[in-house]
Amino acid sequence: MSNIILFEWTIRIASIGVLLCSLEMLVKRSVLGRSGLLSPEVAITRSPVLMTGGVRPALDFLFQPRIAIALLTLRVLLSIAVWLGEPSAIEVGFLALSGVYLSLRSPYGLDGSDQMTNIVFFSCSLGLIVGTPVAKQIVLIFLAAMVCQAYFVSGLEKLKSGIWRSGKAISSVALTKLYGVRSIGDRLTQMPSMCLAMAWFVILFEFLFPFGLLAPHPGWWIALISAGLFHLFAAAFMGLNTFFWAFLSTYPAVIFCRSSFGW
């Protein structure tokens, strides 16, 4: 597959996550309003930079709920638009800036999928602004390196953690209301060997992901499929639906690097 096609697929897959995330926020838009948990009125005071001179009045205007809702609606439309034709620098740039806008408006409730999505759109918009085929290749290499960093760091942190190495992290998280399902958590608690196997699957696939990409065929496909299965599992059982799309969007970059520099 050509780097142009893989570059466009990166944007399109990430846009599915943006579509879902934006629609979810629009459905729950009361959280964006005054006294909502994602209200910017108090959150803005967290940083002196945001409170200085002309910045504060500008942000007070930009952070109004009706502007946030308008931007979310535009994000929905643009995440559909990138499927209808060749994604433009303006479309992708807007998706990047509006993602940062939401992070700036309130830092609470964000997760790694928001960060990865912002990185994907920022780097892709820079690639589109430069506009050369080489620039798109550079962006794909960067995204492949970024997803390797993400998995490696996450795997390393888990490897250092006793609760992960013992497998207890799996049942403990599965029991929580935020990321778990009580009935599954109860069942997993009765199956420590299963938890141990699942924990080590996560640790090893994350930690070894960058090395897997250097492995001969079919090693790197196994690394990629393991990662995809992990995100499918996290979406189905933990409700982390946007993680799946955010990380899946970087896989075309991995395929590009592998096919360009692999053996």
Binding site: L104, Y108, L110, S161, I163, S172, L178, Y179, N241
Partner: protein, 168 residues
């Protein structure tokens, strides 16, 4: 490669290196993150080294004009997991926000003096949120409470934090 391609490569490589540097907690990492109000530099330590194994509950009660208090009422944010949450999960952001705010409040409690905690961002956000909840007309002050429970530990839920009473 043209000049613009080189500039792009250098920018992205620099970002990758800064991100890699900031994955390890240090003075330098805190300094860099304190200059990143956009939150662009990622955290990649998903659920590690210690995953969130606690459930938090937010409750509030009001003081009435008579001086009596209402019963504690829980604000229900966590609905049971639904089969389609893996595709469509609009409630997750609010639940995660509460988790982040509670974590941030507990962090602040270890860093600032008790009488200054009421001035911290997470405390004011929770107070603001609770103040907007439905309540009796005669209520003149409100108070919130955070309970914590570690499911599967066999331990009873306990009161983690009790706010002051604040006039409405």
């Amino acid at each position: 490669m043209g000049t613009q391609d080189w500039a792009l490569a250098i920018c992205l490589a620099a970002f990758w290196l800064v991100s890699a540097y900031c994955q390890h907690k240090s003075k330098g990492e805190r300094y860099v993150r304190s200059h990143d109000p956009f939150g662009i530099i990622p955290y990649w330590n998903f659920f590690a080294p210690t995953p969130g194994t606690w459930d938090y509950s937010l409750l509030y009660r009001d003081r009435l004009a008579t001086g009596n208090h209402t019963v504690w009422r829980e604000i229900q944010l966590c609905s049971p997991r639904k089969a389609w949450d893996g595709i469509w999960n609009p409630g997750k952001r609010e639940k995660k926000a509460l988790f982040d705010i509670v974590t941030s409040l507990m962090q602040s409690a270890t860093e600032v003096e008790a009488d200054r905690l009421v001035l911290t961002v997470p405390y004011i956000i929770l107070l603001d949120y609770v103040s907007a909840m439905p309540r009796p007309y005669s209520a003149d002050a409100t108070q919130f409470l955070l309970m914590a429970e570690e499911p599967g530990s066999g331990k009873e839920p306990f009161v983690m934090f009790n706010s002051h009473e604040h006039p409405l």
